[in-house]
């Protein structure tokens, strides 16, 4: 039995019919064609699917689409504003915070939340904030640099 949901994604309102069991991640990717959030494990452990739901970084494989009803969601595609890269995107680019890029949207969404809350995070705080995000390429060092640099850009 499908249900009608109304979700705001990256500032645009969408009304759709979804199966109650449909994951928010798959709704974003397959219904709205926002394929930036990635499916790396489907068990909420890798964080590649992280998006912001009402301002909180959330793993979209751990939420049903119906739970997104009435909420305001930002995905990686909505982080760039007016064609200008967000500080966190600049940080990842500047510091080579990505290699294959698959975990990157999730890393960016998780660390974007950190620098919104803490404009001068320590390296330990950065590593702690990425507890829910796995990367197999970088060894995290350049990601830590990226977030530190992004925080500095954000403070300017």
């Amino acid at each position: 039995m499908k249900r009608t949901i109304s979700v705001t994604v990256n500032g645009k309102k969408h009304t759709s019919e979804v199966e109650p069991r449909h994951l928010l991640l798959h709704f974003l990717r397959d219904t709205l064609y926002l394929t930036g959030a990635h499916c790396g494990c489907e068990t909420s452990l890798c964080g590649a699917c992280t998006v912001a739901v009402d301002g909180l970084a959330v793993k979209s494989c751990a939420m049903f689409a119906v739970q997104g009803d009435g909420r305001d969601i930002v995905t990686i595609e909505g982080v760039t504003e007016n064609g200008k890269l967000h500080a966190i995107q600049q940080g990842f680019w500047e510091e080579h915070g990505l290699q294959c890029g698959f975990c990157t949207p999730g890393m960016i969404m998780a660390s974007r939340q950190l620098i919104e809350r803490n404009s001068s995070p320590t390296d330990d705080e950065i590593r702690h904030s990425l507890e829910g995000n796995l990367c197999r390429c970088t060894g995290y060092q350049h990601i830590v640099n990226a977030v530190r640099t992004a925080a500095a850009i954000g403070r300017e």
């Binding site: 990717r29 990686i76 796995l134 060894g139 995290y140």
Partner: protein, 776 residues
């Protein structure tokens, strides 16, 4: 004269941010699962819950009843498709039948038994659960040592000894070396299976167009061209009608340098059903049915004089093969034999490799592929030897290193090491970490009951695979360089990068060689319909072989550019420099863009010269390259919990000339992280029945940000003479240096307990138990 790379680089050697990144940081890169084709259907695979069983009955009527389910296939339906191929030839190699769906019997937990096709991926999974399969479980064996014991369950009934192959290699008089030795040290070591685990799982889409008989396979692969040749042959499709596309690939680490049943299956299904079929691996399936790394049981023996001089090395290596031969499964341990002596001068050795079939998914290439295993073995046994001789771990290495003036150095295993300064990197690392002071500190801490360890590992590796006679499918690489009519540059490379950043490093090289901006260079890869035949990305070969082929294509183009420049300037005394052809007499010059326009407009041509500016090179290397390095790790072990903390990690690597230090650092960090994971956290565990105990990230510990130390990475630069770029390759170095460096460090921390060796991963429980055992 051999051409050389430009001596006044403006891009090469610089820390330049990547051209790949804008699409990835904005979520607009297209990975396999992002591709949606018209009328695409979805496959879900029914997998065996048993590691060994007879299939008695498959009933899929209930699955077919679900609206939206269009077909179910089993092993009985596989007409027109061959087996998953083995790419290795070794004398006596046993190659089991490996059909893309099980036929009557399953050999590993996760073995594909049937496939369901539906209009929606959720529906396909629902239907897969409705497929009823009756099995008669059979005895299974998952441990490679047990598999070789008499009376062990036979993985394949036709080969009751479970021996896949025996490979022997030796050099010198090993018996005499051991007879003459002052000291002989032996150690059994395990190198458990680990899972490659790129963040993007595998995935494939088959798209068959019956009107043309044309098949397109989209796959998250490292080897699009090899995959095309193999898949075309297995499926009976003419190669020119088959296209393979590797879209953005989210990491591979060797596990995607393979050919899998699922890739062939989606092609088979699309041809049967007439529409595109997508299959994307779940993470659970990645643990079940993607090739895994390592899986060694090693028995090392080393003979030495009392001054530490190594006289000979004996190795018996049992390689866990798994139940089938994937593309390179049985090749990997033979590479371990080639690297057996590491960086040491000793040429006398005897090695025997036994491949053992087990009821597990096959092992195959995983970052380093045979070289991390060899390095771990030699670096552990040398450390144990040092402690037996009461020698310092650095001193014993310096004593045995091949010296700079000895290159090129012929090893006892048949390799020619190209260049190196092994003592240079080790001394650099020792200075960086202030080794003498650390040893003092260690004594002081130990007096206070604190367990600090210092671990050294030095490594060499075989990279830039490789001369064609030594590789299963050709070891050259290709590039086509096109100067477009506007003067911008398009490079088609046969390698298939998936995170390594060659769109940037190649653009740096091309920009310097052609005197253009990096923004005016596009590096194209991964589509066999666009790019000339190539080999792919693995074995740290991308820049060393692929970059070199691009370099030679550019060299060829330069000759033509000069001819057009000379014509336009009406002078014979011209040279090409910084993007312009300049007349030596008048100082007049023409820019590359003007030359390109003239070459395509073709109003006038230099004598004997064709229009256009395109050149292709297929470059065959004369040798492998041999990067090397020294890693030193300081750890502290918590005696109460057994937890290991890495206090410092110093990596001095020599990968030849650095094209982009930022990207090189990233490669080192990532490799080290995987090596630390292997040393401390990761292990693929099967129980005695072949059941998977670590089938998700809940149970398999991938390193997280907080597990990783700060890596102090630096380089020495010993150019390789094998290619004009002087590069050696860096993709695997970190994963090779880290495991022995970390384990040596922890063993050093525990040495005064009399604990000589513990096997990876050094989990808190294992370390704690060893300390308790030593104390009681």
């Amino acid at each position: 004269m051999t051409p050389v790379i430009t001596e006044t680089p403006t891009h090469v050697g610089k820390r330049i941010k990547r051209k790949e990144d804008p699409r990835m940081i904005t979520g607009t890169a297209t990975y396999l699962d992002d591709i949606k084709l018209p009328n695409m259907h979805f496959a879900a695979i029914v997998r065996s819950p048993y590691a060994a069983a007879r299939i008695d009955r498959i009933d899929f009527a209930a699955a077919l009843q679900l609206p939206g389910v269009v077909a179910v296939f089993t092993g009985a339906d596989l007409d027109g498709v061959g087996n998953v191929p083995c790419g290795v030839s070794l004398p006596g190699l046993r190659i089991p039948d490996h059909s893309i769906l099980a036929k009557g019997r399953v050999y590993f937990s996760g073995h594909p038994v049937a496939v369901v096709v539906a209009t929606d991926p959720y529906l396909a999974r629902d239907a897969a659960e409705r497929v009823e399969v009756d099995y008669t479980p059979l005895p299974a064996v998952a441990d490679p040592e047990k598999a070789l014991e008499p009376g062990a369950p036979a993985v394949h009934p036709e080969w009751p000894d479970n021996v896949a192959f025996v490979h022997k290699q030796e050099n010198g008089d090993i018996d005499q070396a051991f007879a003459e030795a002052d000291v002989i040290v032996k150690q059994r070591m395990l190198q458990p299976r680990v899972v490659a685990s790129p963040m993007e799982p595998r995935g494939a889409i088959g798209d068959y167009k019956s009107a043309e008989g044309a098949l397109t396979l989209y796959s998250s692969t490292q080897i699009p061209h090899l995959l095309r040749s193999i898949a075309a042959a297995v499926l009976g499709v003419a190669e020119h009608k088959m296209r393979v596309v590797a879209p953005e690939v989210g990491g591979g680490f060797g596990c995607k340098a393979d050919v899998y049943a699922e890739e062939l299956l989606v092609c088979f299904l699309s041809r049967k059903l007439g529409f595109p079929i997508k299959w994307v691996e779940s993470r659970r399936e990645h643990f079940q049915a993607c090739s895994q790394g390592r899986g060694h049981v090693d028995f090392y023996e080393i003979a030495a004089r009392k001054d530490g001089t190594i006289l000979g090395i004996r190795l018996k290596l049992i390689q866990d093969i798994g139940c089938h031969q994937q593309l390179l499964t049985s090749l990997i341990p033979t590479l371990s034999v080639l690297m057996l002596p590491g960086l040491y001068r000793c040429k006398t050795f005897r090695a025997e490799v036994v491949g053992a079939f087990t009821n597990c998914f096959p092992t195959d290439a995983y970052r380093g592929a045979g070289r991390p295993e060899a390095t771990y073995g030699i670096e552990r046994i040398v450390d144990i030897l040092a402690s037996e001789l009461k020698m310092d771990a650095a001193a014993i290495r310096l004593k045995n290193f091949i010296e700079p003036q000895e290159f090129p150095f012929a090893t006892g295993t048949g390799l020619i090491y190209d260049s190196g300064n092994y003592a240079g990197t080790l001394n650099n690392a020792l200075d960086t970490i202030d080794y003498a002071a650390l040893r003092e500190e260690q004594l002081q801490l130990r007096a206070k009951g604190r367990l600090m360890g210092i671990g050294i590992a030095t490594y060499g590796e075989i990279c830039a695979f490789g001369p064609s006679p030594y590789t299963p499918a050709g070891g050259w690489e290709s590039a086509t360089v096109r100067i477009e009519p506007s003067g911008t540059v398009t490079v088609h490379t046969g390698i298939s990068p998936h995170g390594q950043g060659e769109e940037t490093t190649f653009a740096q090289i091309a920009a310097d060689e052609l005197g253009v901006s990096m923004d005016d260079v596009a590096i194209v890869h991964g589509d066999t319909a666009v790019v000339q035949y190539g080999i792919g990305t693995f074995g740290s070969r991308g820049t060393a072989v692929g970059g070199t082929s691009m370099f030679f294509a550019i060299e060829e183009l330069k000759k033509k550019i000069v001819k057009f420049g000379a014509m336009l300037l009406d002078s014979d005394e011209v040279q090409f420099t910084a993007g312009r052809v300049v007349c030596g007499k008048t100082g007049n010059s023409v820019a590359l863009a003007q030359i390109a326009a003239a070459s395509y407009r073709a109003l006038k041509l230099p004598p004997g010269t064709e229009p256009g500016l395109v050149a292709t090179s297929f470059w065959e290397p004369t040798n492998f390259t041999f990067p090397f390095g020294a890693h030193i790790v300081v750890t502290e072990v918590d005696a109460d919990t057994g937890e290991v903390k890495i206090i410092r990690y110093v990596a001095v690597d020599d990968c030849g000339k650095l094209i982009n230090p930022l990207i090189v650092a990233g490669q080192i960090h990532g490799g080290v992280a995987q090596g630390i994971g292997q040393a401390l956290y990761e292990q693929m565990v099967y129980d005695e029945n072949g059941q998977i105990l670590t089938g998700e990230y809940t149970d398999y510990a991938l390193p997280k940000a907080r597990n990783m130390p700060w890596i102090e990475s630096s380089h020495t630069e010993t150019p390789s003479p094998v290619n004009p770029l002087g590069v050696k390759g860096v993709g695997e170095a970190g994963a090779i240096g880290a495991p022995p460096a970390v384990v040596n460090s922890v063993m050093d921390a525990l040495s005064h307990f009399g604990i000589r060796h513990l096997d990876m991963p050094l989990t808190p429980e294992k370390v704690w138990s060893a300390i308790q055992g030593a104390r009681s």
